[in-house]
Symmetry: C2
């Protein structure tokens, strides 16, 4: 009598935890979990597939890097109709900069999923961006282009890509919000507190109140970032009012 | 009484010719013809859209370049399971090299569609590759990722991407075919003749016969290319036989 391969493995406690964790980050359920596992497999594990080929996240990183660039290109093409080729290229490289991707990967806590023989504390900053790219590659292989586009929209473009800010036209949403409050003679309060929870990295949360109401909340790895993020959300929520 | 915009324009003789010509190259019918027209609009035409933004192929070239790279990345990822990140990157840059894209654009005769105030004879070689990339961008905007992938499969990967040849492992299919014929004591004949037809560029056709049968035909812009292409087709057709 034979059993299907991995019948038991696929229900292990470890896989279950990985499934839940990754589903939370993706915002949808993975179909083929093994593709995502590969996205977090460091070369130090020395794993090989059935054909003897090295198995680690580096090939997925190659794929994800390319996919990410394309989806950002499409976004910029649509959002900046007056930008020429040179401008679009410059903006894209700002968005997909190593620094930016490292920040993204770190905020998502991707390093918690990494399997490695090297202690995680020994990795440089680039591990965060590298596994982020590998994750994008895995999404593409598992669910195709559309899901990949949605994930990038949701995780990169929505929270991080602000063309005005990238251009340096808006330096700080916090100062915009403060200016508006002063002009309108409204009180405001950025209530910042530590909110690390189960994260391995320290996190801060902000509640931004204008007058008596909380108008935005945000959470990030530094006080400044959390304030800026909350201010940005408030800015867009209040945009109509602020223009008057 | 108002008429829908472009009701008459869209049926002009000129548009009809463009539609037929472009459909032949694409292998499917375009939905929004204007996107493809933009892919062939040189900046010297100084066209602007309704919002005053410059209209030429350069922004589409930015998009198509990115899209092409991603689709080639995916192809390499699947086809070369034992290639590491560095190898995949090197192969991709060979495939999407300026020289290669210029050859592709030239073979498709894309320059015939270019609208420019500069005489076409004044353009350098890069115009061919640039409008090829712009065309890929237009396909993506008009029909989405899947069509773009199919077009690249059909027009780039199928006829041009041979990983063994890119690696230099196979120098010439012609010599492989000749070797096999000699070993098997079979006669062979590369019958080459000019076959330019309505193309603006000189073209050559080859009929490759082994023994009494024509085993492959091909057409290209040089005798050598046409022979190599026919030999490649024969090589794959005869592969089982050749291995014995």
């Amino acid at each position: 009598m034979t059993f299907p391969k991995n019948l038991f493995n696929s229900h292990s406690k470890e896989d279950g935890d990985f499934f839940l964790g990754i589903t939370k980050i993706l915002g949808f359920k993975p179909k083929t979990l093994s593709v995502y596992k590969k996205a977090f497999l460091h070369r130090s594990m020395n794993k090989k597939d059935a054909n003897g080929n090295a198995m680690n996240y580096e090939r997925l990183e190659f794929l994800g890097d390319s996919m990410l660039g394309t989806i950002i290109s499409k976004h910029l093409y649509s959002e900046v109709p007056d930008g020429d080729e040179g401008y679009l290229t410059k903006m894209r490289s700002k968005i997909v900069s190593r620094e930016h991707l490292n920040e993204l990967g770190k905020d998502l806590g991707l390093i918690n999923f990494v399997e490695s023989r090297i202690p995680k504390s020994h990795f440089g900053q680039n591990i965060h961006g590298n596994v982020f790219e590998a994750l994008v590659g895995a999404i593409y292989l598992d669910r195709g282009y559309k899901y990949c586009e949605k994930f990038i929209q949701h995780r990169v473009i929505g929270p991080y890509v602000d063309i005005e800010q990238l251009e340096g036209r808006v330096i700080s949403y916090k100062s915009l919000v403060i200016e508006w409050c002063q002009k309108k003679k409204k009180s405001f309060d950025f209530d910042v507190y530590e909110d690390t929870g189960n994260d391995p990295l320290k996190h801060f949360a902000v509640k931004l109140s204008i007058g008596d109401s909380v108008v935005a909340k945000a959470r990030a790895t530094s006080k400044k970032k959390a304030e800026e993020r909350a201010a940005k959300r408030a800015f867009f929520a209040l945009q109509d009012k602020m223009e008057n």
